[in-house]
């Protein structure tokens, strides 16, 4: 650029018509607006944050992640057709829910190795490998959802069942009996239906209509097994 200016300056003194004088007549900027920022609109905010997350306090960082997780919990509890879970997926929520559920399914006393309820590792394996299997199944059937998005949705939709587990444990504090069992059964069934409906609301759009049932059935089986583990829990 400097050379051109220099040469145009020299040529201006040498010849009446400078070499690059015609450039200003073209005036591209008036015809085609080429000004502006070259950024992707959605990540504009993240770019701004990237510069400052190193300097913020730890509390601020943790609260931001917790708020994101909480926002997704709200989206699961009131399932609408939104894609917040899909767009900003994270696996913190599923991890928190899975650990909570597995801890609550532990008995206080060891009743005998073979006859007990599910161990912590069994619950963990069922939840995570079940979610991975369903995701693989969904992708093999030709669904257009990414691996971690699907894991995120399936993990977050365990929230109603975790709430059911909490309610069951509280109800069981009042002693066992047929009325007790009916209350627990009702709560678990309602939360199971809520989980299936919530996850279907997020996952159903990613499949063509002639394969939707094939993709939804494993989700149904997955939440059914978890509901069964919750219902058969006896302290």
């Amino acid at each position: 650029m400097a050379e051109a200016e220099e040469s145009s300056g020299e040529l201006e003194t040498a010849t009446p018509r400078p070499l690059f004088a015609g450039l200003s007549d073209i005036s591209i900027s008036q015809d085609i607006p080429i000004e502006g920022e070259i950024t992707i609109p959605m990540q504009g905010r993240a770019r701004e944050l990237d510069r400052s997350t190193l300097n913020e306090s730890v509390r601020h960082t943790i609260m931001r992640d917790l708020k994101a997780v909480g926002k997704k919990f709200m989206h699961v509890l009131y399932p609408r057709r939104s894609n917040v879970l899909l767009r900003d997926w994270d696996l913190w929520g599923p991890l928190i829910l899975c650990v909570t559920l597995a801890l609550m399914l532990q008995k206080g006393s060891v009743d005998g190795e073979k006859d007990g309820g599910p161990q912590f590792a069994e619950v963990f394996v069922i939840v995570w490998f079940g979610a991975v299997t369903i995701t693989l199944n969904s992708k093999l059937l030709g669904g257009n959802i990414s691996f971690f998005q699907s894991l995120c949705v399936l993990g977050y939709c365990i929230l109603p069942l975790t709430v059911a587990m909490l309610i069951c444990r509280l109800v069981l504090l009042a002693g066992q009996g047929p009325i007790n069992f009916m209350i627990r059964l009702f709560v678990v069934v309602v939360m199971f239906i809520w989980s299936v409906v919530a996850s279907t609301a997020f996952l159903a759009d990613s499949h063509p209509p002639n394969r939707k049932a094939l993709a939804v059935y494993p989700v149904f089986l997955f939440y059914f097994v978890i509901s069964w583990m919750i219902l058969t829990f006896t302290p």
């Binding site: 006859d115 309820g117 599910p118 069994e122 059937l141 089986l221 069964w228 829990f233």
Partner: protein, 326 residues
């Protein structure tokens, strides 16, 4: 063989179409003769200039002669261009085994529930497009249903007889899963290997691929799912009746599917193979019934003294009572 005669005539559009028709008919003859020799090929016609009536799409019949009526799914698959086969380490290779619709899966399940002689599951329903969705998820469903209903049986038994010690018995899920999956995948492997070894010297057209064998076994287990749910009814003879019925349907489906393959072999080998297949199936059904649905198993009483040493006095009466009711 199929060349149009090259004569010196004016090249008119009618002559070109006539020449194309002649070529088309010759190609059809060639295709039919080739098919008569190797019935397991499926032909496609890839010339875009011709109309659709000239696409030669003939499905394989197991020596039935006339081409079978196809559904839309097969037609679209045959009309596609020949793609290079994906390698087994790519994702697309496995995606080709999940290329089924809901209606196809339901149709295959219905086909395995109601077998009759001469009704070959592989030829009628699979039509050279085996899938892995059905076998995998039917096995998973069966494993979980077995564990859940076995547990429910124990709950209901405890209602009637409160001396039985109830526990969730979660380890049975693991046992059920491993048993069902090993049966549904290892037995077809052994069967396929054995059939290949027997047919190794003869060029036999009826041999099923490994996936088709897995499909046959997987879908044949689907009749056990409603049976296991019906085993909740605590009437003993009814449970045995349902079990026998399910076993008969399932084994019949397997035998009718395997019969066209083994009838070419010697009588002894054919009879031995079919009886081993039926026997393994019966063993599976019996094992499931006895392991998951024993109403009053003695093992529930025996570990109690080790786990709860605080109540040894109630033990002898409960064991005596459970033995009488068994």
């Amino acid at each position: 063989m199929g060349h149009a005669s090259l004569e010196r005539k004016a090249v008119t559009p009618q002559r070109i179409m006539a020449a194309a028709d002649v070529l088309a008919f010759h190609e059809f003859e060639e295709a039919t003769t080739l098919l008569a020799e190797t019935p397991d090929a499926a032909t496609t016609s890839q010339r875009d200039a011709l109309t659709s009536r000239e696409h030669v799409a003939v499905a394989v019949g197991s020596g039935y002669g006339a081409p079978e009526v196809e559904d839309e799914g097969d037609k679209t698959a045959l009309l596609q261009e020949e793609k290079p086969q994906p390698r087994f380490w790519t994702f697309d290779y496995y995606q080709s085994f999940f290329d089924v619709d809901t209606s196809q899966v339901l149709d295959r399940i219905k086909g395995s529930l109601l077998p009759h002689p001469g009704y070959n599951f592989v030829r009628h329903h699979l039509r050279n497009r085996p899938d892995l969705y059905g076998p995998f998820w039917i096995c998973a469903t069966l494993a979980f249903v077995l564990a859940v209903t076995g547990n429910l049986t124990l709950v209901l038994a405890q209602r009637r007889d409160s001396s039985i010690h109830y526990s969730p018995q979660f380890h049975k899920v693991t046992v059920a899963g491993i048993t069902i999956y090993c049966y549904a995948w290892l037995v077809p492997l052994a069967l396929w290997g054995f059939l290949r070894w027997r047919q190794g010297t003869r060029e036999h057209m009826e041999l099923y691929t490994f996936l088709e064998t897995v499909c046959v076994y997987g879908y044949s287990l689907s009749v056990f799912v409603p049976t296991v749910i019906l085993w909740l009814i605590p009437v003993e003879w009814l449970q045995w009746l349902f079990g026998a019925l399910a076993l008969a349907l399932s084994a019949a489906g397997l035998v009718f599917t395997l019969w066209p393959v083994v009838r070419e072999d010697t009588r002894l080998v054919a009879a031995a193979l079919l009886s081993i297949v039926v026997l393994l199936h019966a063993l599976l059904a019996l094992g499931c019934k006895l392991y998951f649905f024993q109403p009053l198993p003695l093992e529930h009483v025996i570990p109690a003294p080790q786990a709860t040493p605080l109540s040894p006095s109630i033990l002898p009466p409960t064991s005596a009572r459970s033995m009488t009711t068994l």
